[in-house]
Each structure stands twice: as C-alpha cells, then as structure tokens.
Amino acid sequence: MPAVQETVEQVRAIDVDQYKYGFSTEIEMELAPKGLSEDIVRYISARKNEPAWMLEWRLDAYRRWLTMREPEWARVDYPQIDFQDMYYYAAPKSNAAPQSLDEIDPAILETYKKLGIPLREQEILAGVAPEKRIAVDAVFDSVSVVTTFKEELRKSGVIFCSISEALQEHPELVRQYIGSVVPTTDNFYATLNAAVFSDGSFVYIPPDVRCPMELSTYFRINEQKTGQFERTLIIADKGSYVSYLEGCTAPMRDENQLHAAVVELIAHDDAEIKYSTVQNWFPGDAEGKGGIYNFVTKRGDCRGARSKISWTQVETGSAITWKYPSCILRGDDSQGEFYSIAVSNGAQQVDSGTKMIHLGKNTRSRIISKGISAGRSQNTYRGLVSAHRRATNAKNFTNCDSLLIGNACGAHTVPYIESKTASAVFEHEATTSKVSEDQMFYCMQRGLTQEEAIALIVNGFVKDVLQQLPMEFMVEAQKLIAISLEGSVG
C-alpha cells in the first residue's frame, strides 16, 4: 500500500503533462552527417573499429532495407517518417573508450544520477545487500558510456558489456549469434537497425552459471533529431539463468524521435532468461505533439530443450509503440511467457503483443496482457499463437484484459491462432472493463481522492503482471503507471 501512497505523492508533485525525465543534458556531441547512405553505415562501422564481416553484414542489411516498405498493418497512425532528416549516430565527444568512470564526462554521470541510476559502484554498494546489486550498462544516444560490475561478473564467467566492446573482445560469440533470432531480413525496422545499430548490450552466461546479480541496461536519448538504434544480444548457455531489465527515457521535445531497437535472446538446454522492460520514453504532450516512435523487434529463441524465456513489460511511454516481444519455442519442453502492462493516455497509440511460435514437442506458453487506456489514446493487443505440425501437446493460455478510463479512448484485441497439430490446446480469455463511477465513488466515500482511487483500482487491475517484475522494480513500475494516468479523469 505505501506504494500507492508514494505514487500519489509523486503524481501530486508534478503538473499535468510534466514528464519527469524530460530534461536534456548540454554536452558536446559528435554527430554523423545527417541522413542515411552506405557512407553513413561505413562511418558507424568505422567509428567502432568493427571487423570487416560486420561491415559487410550491415551493408547487406542496408541494401535490403532500401527495397523494403514500412509495415502498415498496425493500428497506429503517424505522418510519413523522413529517414534522411535525422542523425544515425550521436556520441558524447569525450567518450573515447573510457577505462573508468573518472574518464566519463561528469555531465553524463549527473544525467544518470538525476534519472535515479547510480553508475558509481561505490554508491551502489553502499548499504545494498550483494544479492540486490544491479549491474548497469548505460547507453547514451548512440553509445554505451559505461558498464558497471563488469569485473565482478567476470569472476563467474559472465560477460556483460556493450555490444561494441563484445565485437572487439568476443567477435566469435557475436558472429555466431547475431541475427540468428532476428535475421537482417526480418522486417523494415529490424533491417534498418541491422544497418545502423550503434550500440546496445551484450550478455553471455556460461553453462550452469546463475548470474550473480540482476543485469540492466538504461537507454537514454538526449540529442535532438537523433534516432536510437540499439541492439541487444543475450545468450544463456546450457543450464544457466539470467534476469535482465531495461529502462528508457528521453527529453521532452516537440519533434518525434525514432527508436528502433532489436533484442535477441538465446536460451540453450535448461537455460532461463527473464527479460523485463520498463519503457518510459517521452510520450508527447496531451495534444500528441512530440514523443518517441518506439518501433522495436524483440524475440527470444528457446533453442534448447527445457529452456525458458519470459518477457515482462511495463509500457507507459512513447507516442507510438509497435512492439511484439516473442518466443520461438524450438526446444522440446521449452516454455515462453509474456506478461505485459501497456498504459496509454493523452494521444498515445499502442499496438503491442507477442508471438508464441510452438515448434517443439510439449512446449508451453502463457500470455497475460493488461491494457489500460485513458484520454484519447488507442491501445491494441495483437498476438499470435501458432503450433507447428511437430509441436505435439503444445499448450497456450492467453488472457487479455483491457481497462478503459473515460469515454474517448479505445481498446482492441486482435488474437491470431494457427494450429497444425490436433493435440495443441490453446485457451484464450479476454475481458474489457471500465473504471466505473461506482468504484470511484465507493473509494472516494471512504476518503480516497480521485487520483488515489484511480491508482488503487488500476494497481488492482495490473497486479498479476506487476508481481512478475523483479522486486526492486515493482514499486517503481507502480508509480510510473499512476503518473502516466495523471489527468486521466475529471
């Protein structure tokens, strides 16, 4: 309960339309020339000193991308994006491969501090029990500025670093896995990402290792007119376990900025990956001006037998969200999970969901999606569950609940089901409800303000999913949801 209280206090502390992370940092940046061309792709690759095969891979993707068209099937509406009118690479000037935090521009450290992400290990260590420690990879515009606890993790054989660094230090691992889950030809945005991705995180967990701490990446867009294209690759080798969290914020601007990320997860035999996202990109103002276009491809491959991949997402930000974290259940007895809370307010548009592709025998998947729409927003759940001929005894359970606040918003559920085996059992439940006047009045009669009442009712609605988040982030997510719904009633 204190969380609800805190939420409300935080809601009170800010004005309507006041996005808490909306500040920008004044810092000298190195920008690639505006626009996109083969030269830009070469420029990015050269800046990162990449091996030749990587450049070829990028160029392939770029050429392919030129022949592709933007997807139009999602229930989102936005003006044509001018891909020549943005920067594809923006890096802090000072960041010539810093060896320690002391070499990082203090303005950047200050930025992360303001965002509540301490990067100094001493600060993190102070008063935090070892099992509660979180290692952070901080990505600022196009580059990773620092990764904490690298050495400590190395002791257990865990590799956690930026993908640029991984390309230098472990090129064979990157080469083996990159594009193996989301091929460069996958879709318009994933292909664009393959051509121009500038950084992101890389994780490798060796066989039978349980990663000793929570890993996380914190994405920050700062520079104007810049797209962020990060690429994350996580490999859990046989019998290993890792829990990973990503967070995202951006300054308030009245332009739209593009974020087109790719995340690939690979779980080998008996491995488990738990991937959580708290997405709070700037959503634009109440009129729908500005905000991030969040066009993201996330996919996990349960490559090994008995492997498990679990996606949990709390999506509150972005002007437009187009995102379907999916699982390919390739290994026999593998499991996929998708837990989602998608909140939309103001003029936000969300089209999000998942794909559970059952290929192996006895594979199981579970989808719990909670959509909350307020203001004039549109919130769509789009999900596919499919079973291959070989996928005998595949099981899926899907539950999609939508909650409407007010009369001007919309909630939509678009489930696709394809089964090629008679032994598959797919269950689907869906409900749509409204925060009723009765509920509001009942709560207020007991003394809760309108905002407290909404926060309480909504927290009740999303509880099952919130519980899937790592403890430390549950309260944070709860607050975020309430703040996102600020001004949604009355």
């Binding site: 009723s436 509920q439 207020m444 007991r446 003394g447 407290e452 009740g460």
Partner: protein, 253 residues
Amino acid sequence: MSLLEIKNLTAKLAEEDKQILNGLNLTVEKGQVAAIMGPNGSGKSTLSYVLAGREDYEVTGGEALLDGENILELDPDERAAKGLFLAFQYPIEIPGVGQMTFLKAAINAQRRKNGLDEIATPEFIKLVNGRAKELGISQDMLRRSVNVGFSGGEKKRNEILQMALLQPKLAILDETDSGLDIDALKIVADGVNAMRSPDRGFVVITHYQRLLDYIKPDVVHVLSAGRIIKTGGPELALELEAKGYADIVGKAA
C-alpha cells in the same frame, strides 16, 4: 449544534430533469439514532448519495450542514474525512484490490486529510483483526479482493467493518439489514450499538422493524416522494409495520 441539519433540500438527476428530493428537512442530533423508513423509490438512497456527494445527482436548492458546515460543495472524499460514512445498499466490488490494501488506504487517506500520521502496519493489522473477529469476518475474506465473491450478507458485514475502522461522526446505513441472516443481523446490530456514543449519530435506512428491535432508534422519520412526511418515536415504526404506508402517505398528499 445539531450533528446534521438538512434544510429544504431539493435534488434532481444530473443527466435528466427528474426531481427526486423535494424540499427535504431533517435534523439528526449528536448521540441520536434516526431511522428513515419509506416506500420503495421514495428517495432514501438518493438522500444518502446526495449527502455523500455522488455526482449523478445535482443539488438544486437547500443545504446540509454537518457540524454546522455546509458540506454540499465538498468532494466526496472531503466529506468522508469530515466524518461522514455511508454503508452502501449495494456495496461495490473492486477486483484485484486486496481488502487490507483498501482498508489501509482509506484509513490513511482520512488521517492525512485530518493532519494525522499514517497508521503503523502492526497497529493496523491488530485493529482490523480485532474488528473483523467481532463481526464474524474470516481471515479468508480479509485476504480477498474488496467485496469480490462475497455473499450479500458478507458484503453488508464488510461495510460495518469499514465503519468500525473509520469511526465516523455520522454513519448512514442504507438497508444494511437486507440480505443478512438472523445471526448476522444480531452481529451487525451489536457492531453498531457498540459504536453508539454521545457525539456520534446514525441514520438507519430500513424497511423492517426487525433491525430496529436490535438497534433502538431515538426517532423514526417517514420519507415519501422526496420529503420527510412524518416524524415520531420508535412506536411509529411499529405502526408502519402493522398498517403499511398507505395511511400516512395518503394524509400527506
């Protein structure tokens, strides 16, 4: 000063031109239990909603003073914090919100508004467990979501639990007896009686003498067509039970 003073109150549906309260006058003194009886559709629940500040109704005239202060301009939560409690005729379900969470949120919301510190968790748990036991509310019910899957009688008892925790100045009980079995009726009545005190008042809306056997009213009012048309002592309720409303309503009209 009276605890509650309603003067010439008129109210209509906010969305329609339907007048429901037609110049209602009613006074409740501190320490008093006032029963309100009246035919179906006469406006009893509407009166309780209007006092509690429900937006579906628009006050078109008159005033309602709680401890001398007109409350009709206040938001529902402010009225609650000033000590007005309504036990609903039909309590509302809130899926996913645990009872304990809800109760604590309510207590703390009121405390904050009254400039008090939040209740400490151990104290809160002790308090709830104590009251729940008195009202025959099981631990299982306390673990569930607010009113979700509760039987009619359980919902009513749950309203009384909330009242006992919030300790209001003025409690309006809207047909709290309906749906209660004989034992539960006694338990609820005991709960109310235990809370009777010289500075607290109750408005008990009911159709049946049975409840008034357990909760002895000081006065009985008859509400018909949006007005109080008759006021008397406890014997008035017995008279109504015997003869029905036709007589009184006829005379008033």
